[in-house]
């Protein structure tokens, strides 16, 4: 069985896309439609990698990201952010949150902007977990 990868995105088309790419490249895909569901799946499925969208309703994507990056339990999980917003914008929003008293979080390991090529995604996944 290949390594397990969880996709968290509210757009079912995106989930379909990443699931297909993962299957084609020998990984085991699981999916969640929002941040809360994603957190549940991480606890129950123990994935090696999370592909995360940060622009979801009720900011559940960003919250999940912060959760993963600040909690020790999930320190081993790699994260690829796959988002419609530019990396610069995302980093700036994190900076703003830090200024408002939230604890600072490290930059994401991998950041891909939509729309993304299947090859690029596959390559990034390989770099993340091999």
């Amino acid at each position: 069985m290949g390594k397990k990868v969880l996709t968290v995105d509210d757009d079912p088309d995106v989930r379909l896309f990443t699931t297909t790419v993962l299957e084609e490249h020998g990984y085991t895909p699981v999916e969640a439609g929002n941040g809360e569901e994603g957190l549940q799946m991480i606890t129950s499925e123990n994935p090696d990698l999370v592909i995360l969208d940060v622009l979801m309703p009720r900011q559940s994507g960003i919250r999940l990201y912060r959760e993963l990056k600040t909690s020790k339990a999930f320190a081993g999980v790699k994260i690829i952010i796959l988002s419609g917003i530019a990396k610069k914008t995302f980093l700036r929003s994190q900076q703003a949150l830090t200024e408002f008293g939230e604890s600072p979080v490290p930059e994401p390991d991998f950041y891909l902007e939509k729309p993304v090529d299947a090859d690029v995604l596959a390559e990034t996944i390989r770099k993340a977990i091999g």
Binding site: D10, D11, D13, V14, L16, F17, T20, V21, E24, L55, M56, P57, R58, G84, I85, E113, K114, P115, V116, D117, A118
Partner: protein
Amino acid sequence: MTRILLIDDEPDLLRVLARSLKADGHEVATALNGPEGLSAFAGQRPAIVITDIRMPGMSGIEVLKRIKEREPDAEVIIITGHGDMDNAVEALHFGASDFITKPFRGETLAIAIRRAEEKIDLRRRLKEYTLDLEGKIEKATRELRRRSNFLTKLIRSSNDGVVATDEELRIVVFNPGAERIFGFLQDDVVHSRYLSDLLPKDLVESFQRAMSAERAFKELPWREATIVSKSGERIPVMFSGSILVEGSNKLGSVAFFQDLREIKRLQRELVRSERLAAIGQTVAGLAHGIKNILHGLKGGSYLVDVGINKNDSQRLRKGWDMIKRNIQRTSNLVLDLLSYSKEREPEIQECSPNEIAAEVCDLMRERVQQEQIELIREFDASIGKAFMDPQTIHTALLNLVSNALDACLFDENTAKRWQVRVRTIAEPGNVIRFEVSDNGAGMSDEVKNKLFTSFFSTKGHRGTGLGLLVTRKLIEEHGGCIEVQSKLGEGTTFSMQLPCRVQGLAT
């Protein structure tokens, strides 16, 4: 004390009198006859002169006359003899202040002198007082002039037009601000024209009523009006006036005018730039929406490729569906954007609002069945045909009902029995109210405030962000308005009111 001149031809009397006066502390000069006396007067300038009336050579009367010529303020006391009453009277006529009759006691003279001194003192004080008064008047006049100048400058400098009239409404003040607004020159108007030459009839009537009103109602509060200038231009102004009274007297009236042309121009600019700003924001949000769609197309074509290469018809199907879905999304986005940016006049025609509402509900039938939401229709039977734009009603209702269904789906409380209620209500004043309410997710105040103002969607990938903006624009173009009430976790109600030129509405 005082300087006194004694003139008498009797040397003994002179000596005695002089001694007595000196004893009283006066400065005394003496002369034995008229001419000597006059010369002594010129030299010494005494305040009081005491002269005998009967003297050889120049008479006392003559001395009196000469002294009075020279110094009208000199006090001259005449010494008369018994039977000299006529002379005494004559002396008084020529300005003598007093006369004493020989023989007299020392006291008599002292009293006469004291009276003379009092007169001198009184005269001096009067002079001082008069001078002082003149000084005060001059000062007060200067102050008045200064204040008057200040007030005049105040009125002249005001950017607002200031027009004041007398009690017959004839113009007495017309400042440069008024010149600019009305186009008349001050000289052409003051004292020659009346308020009725300047203002439209309804404003003049307001003034006339206020002028003749017995009590209160002396103020005409600020309101917008339109005046016609000398050149015939219609100018929007902000106007206010009042009647000037003093006690029960009517002094006149005053009116203030603010030229609103500039403000109105700026308001139009503001509306235009707000819309441009919204479009600018829209462009940013739009780029985001398009990126998502592109991603969907790319993803779809990837799946199709895999499907073809691996002969996997399921993948092929899924990929193709994804592409079709995203083509539809593109189409929706473009249509929304066009609707939002175009200025559109509503196309008023005879239609049936209840029928349109029913149509929209029918369109939703499949979805509500699938998602198990109850769609309730409450249409006001008194609404028949109306003159409105059916497109506006349809698009707006479709957006609101679709949002209501989404609100139920987004609701985390899955135990709820979701309901969406669509109501039409006839209201007085030819207005129809459409209400769409749901008992779904509800909105926080933060979300509610952003609702109509920016490219904002809580629906993640599914919203174009423009739905409500377009809806509001359509409603406003139709002359209506829309408002929202919502409670987080409990539900939302959107309520829009549209005017209708109505036919067949039971009132």
